[in-house]
Amino acid sequence: MATSPTVHIVCSDQHRNGKTLLARVLVDFLMLDGRDPFCIDTDAPDGPLRAFFPGRTALADFAAIQGQMKLFDTILASPGRDYVIDLPARHTERFFQTARDLDFFAECHKTGFRVFVFFIVDNSFTSLKTAYAMQREPGVDLFIPVRNMLVRSHWPENEGALTIPFLAAPIASAISNRRFSLREFVNGDPQGLAPDLVRELQAFLYDVLNSLNGLEPVRALGGPGQP
């Protein structure tokens, strides 16, 4: 997907709508693509993303300045690789305000990064309004609205978005085990998943990974949110 180091920000203004699942798929996608992403999980103290990638994730409590330093300083001090930031809803507004105050995105560009924002548009007008506002966020190279079919979305059907297909409860439950690796699954290891669930998860990942793969051409064509 991204050919130059990219800071991927996965966020939403609403809770429990699949942010960490998307961040997790994104990290696996980047690794399958031969890249070496580092994750910053701001959902302290739980660290749901860190549970899946303990060796490549820093847990940073964005509510504290030390957490902000861990996030921004880590990224800027070690350029040249991809980063995935998992932002819980409670930190989303503050993150973007702080990024604006600190001129973080401009500094990212100076350091050679691109900035992609994945925003899960929930099934509420508030979420849609926030998404439209965030689409105009200065310094973001690509804004990607995301529809999660499990929670549904107010994002208009006729406007492009990355879609997370519906995921049946048994699969969601199976892959929520922190030992389950989506990357290993793609590489042919079902990790004990029943054959019918294997097919369903394959279809799910095929759709999501295909959409992620299509982002680079979208960016080249001048997708929404581009400066």
């Binding site: 300045i65 030390q66 902000q68 921004f72 300083d73 105050d101 600190l102 001129d103 973080f104 500094e107």
Partner: protein
Amino acid sequence: MMKPTLILVGADKGGVGKTTVARSLLDYFARKNVLTRAFDTENPRGSLHRFYPAITEVVDLGNVAHQMRILDTMETANVPVTIVDLKAGNLSYSLDLFERIGVLEAARNGMFTLGLFHVVGPSIASLDEIGEIAKYLSGMQYVVARNSINETNFFEWDEATYRKYFSQIAKTQEINVPKLNEMAYEQVDVAGVTFKDFIDNRAADGSQGKFSFVLRGYVRKWCSEIDAEFAHVKMLQDVLSGGRQQ
């Protein structure tokens, strides 16, 4: 040629952010390319001197030779702005001294512009100082700098108290010194550099610094807030405009 400007920064109460205000002023003028010099009366240690060693002299205000170093050189120093950081607790003493040796009188007669940044903290004791120094303020540009170190509201919730202190002096200008994140403040302090150098990631020896991007950002934002406050102070704007507004 523009009259020289002498700016005193003081408070009778310690720990209200006096040196921070003096540093902010020096930084402000540096960012606006106005030459300054400073005198630190925190003799012999000099906390201002630590941040601006090249332009700051530590002096003892009670020493006549030192008084001469500040006052008799204002015309000849070829520096438009002189800032004196008055030792904690010495504001009334210094104003009284300047009155006795004719400095205030010279300012009243227009020989130079004299300003006082009176830094007050959120306490009645600190606010009481305003009344105590009122008698010296004729002919002087008086700025009350309210230091929001504790995000206080300076008794604005109590109109009578607020009016008692802030309305008793005509032509008082007020500025609010915004709160700077403690960690950012401490990092600048530890580094011993100016706010500007910290923002520019420059160490005290001029080499590339290793300061946190986040903390630099907080300091930059704080400086822009201070700039907005200073933009309302006539004396400072007169200096920037080369005296054309005087």
